[in-house]
Symmetry: C2
Subunit: 268 residues, 2 copies
DNA sequence: CATTTTAGTTCCAATTAATGAAACCGAGTT
DNA sequence: AACTCGGTTTCATTAATTGGAACTAAAATG
């Protein structure tokens, strides 16, 4: 992806190890990697030394390391909407009794940062940290719909458009049409586009200036409910999204953008 | 800490940003850093580009980035005891109704990897990914007590021995004495050593060969319970710890150690 | 059992990237 | 207008990464 120097390469390796959803051997990494043998080898060594990877000497496999969990906790606490949104999610969960998700965009994917299960209490990283597709989830579409042109084009072009169900919007054109709709009515709908039987409504979390911070959704199953029921919660969800946006902006995500620094940061 | 090349330095910077438990300015980082201005600046740039840090262009502050959360999810799933331990934690939680913690050691600190809240939750932070001191927590002492000599010496020497309460074991000597006790009876006790009013019992999770994998604990408050009550659960906790150890060994942490590779990996 | 293959590790000279002192810039002060 | 402070950029120097190739251990093969 991006290739800034040694650090960028190291991150690529990290990402690659994480991409296998299981402990992985050197040889496997090597063949799915652009790096020559020796180079990859040394990266794995160094990252293992640093605790960013863990190495199982018996099976000779690498996996993402525990140090990441520690660092991620700091990230979750400081950079995510989760701490701010927590009380709001709690009340939404209480009122609706349904599954509630809080998500943010991370490199054109949906990153779930918090969740309330219908019955159970909070589970932390069990769900937080998980990624999903943006083009066929309520939260993903809610966020994309309100991106500024440049970011939207980028996001839309980076979707995989895999057809999970026969209702999946499996093309850029179909997606863009739905995003226009969403922008108009202010919330997104997922009508079994990702998983059969699973429907949801989602509202974007925006700053007062319209910048996308994240999204919240309420999910149900077609067995227990229909869209009328689900959509009856939209006003409530929208209000919560607004409240989170306001608080977030005050605490963490102030409005101003587009100075020289920012431009450079986002560049290729 | 360790200084392997550019990657090591980048990790140090990451760690340093995370260490401030809040978004931090360039100048602040600079003065608590060994790097010269330009060097630190470029590291921050690159890491931000990579999503390992996030940058707030208005306040000009850096914080750990969301990419870490995504990577940590993979780490948590693959390298932690959490997925294996989950059903056991659930049943312990159900049976006791108290707060249950699952922890592992990460560079001489306690890293909490999973948690179940008490039926009547007591005010206490501790979440997955959170770290805590090893010398004054039940899980920390339970793990340290069963380390092999070399690792134990290292761990013991790296504690801060800050006196959180007047019961804190605030010296290496006092700690070692308690560890001997723990090793003898097979479980650790935290008698308000970290937080006043908070007590707990903890059992180590070991492989059949005696290698430390983690620890589980049950926590209570002095207001609602006493040690007799808490200690009545020790046999149950110990059994669960053994079960987790057995499963973990089978699935993920085989016994063999100490080949050339491993030696090098752990070296300076 | 000898031989070949495979997987992982190490070497080292060529190359490339990191480095950091110093200059620069812009916004807010004096 | 000159100064200061925090942040950013430049560029010659320095130190690191690089990767082809050689090597080793262990497993597969004849």
């Amino acid at each position: 992806m991006a290739g800034d120097g040694t650090i960028g390469k190291a991150c690529d390796v990290l990402e690659q190890v994480a991409a296998f959803a299981r402990p992985v051997r050197f040889a496997e990494l090597l063949e799915s990697s652009d790096f020559p043998k020796a180079t990859l080898y040394r990266f794995l060594q160094t990252l293992t030394n640093q605790g960013m990877l863990s190495y199982d000497p018996d099976r000779q496999t690498y996996a993402p390391g525990m140090r990441l969990v520690r660092l991620a906790h700091a990230a979750w606490t400081q950079s995510s909407l989760a701490p701010i949104a927590r009380p709001f999610l709690d009340s939404l969960s209480r009122e609706t009794g349904e599954t509630v998700h809080l998500a943010q965009l991370d490199s054109s994917q949906v990153l779930y940062v918090d969740k309330r299960n219908a019955a159970q209490p909070i589970e932390m990283y069990s769900q937080a940290g998980k990624v999903g597709p943006a083009y066929c989830t309520g939260v993903g579409k809610a966020m994309m719909a309100f991106l500024e042109d440049e970011a939207l084009n980028k996001a839309v072009s980076q979707q995989s458009y895999h057809r999970f169900t026969d209702k999946t919007l499996a093309s850029e054109k179909a997606l863009r049409a739905d995003l226009d709709l969403i922008r108009g009515r202010g919330y997104a709908v997922d009508d079994e586009e990702h998983e059969p039987g699973i429907i949801c409504i989602a509202c974007p979390i925006l700053t007062s200036g319209g910048r996308v911070l994240g999204a919240i959704s309420i999910t149900g199953s077609t067995e227990r409910m229909n869209f009328d029921q689900l959509e009856s919660w939209v006003p409530r969800v929208r209000r919560v999204a607004e409240q989170i946006g306001t608080e977030a902006q005050a605490w963490r995500f102030p409005e101003t953008r587009t100075n020289a620094h920012n431009d450079r940061m986002q560049a290729t």
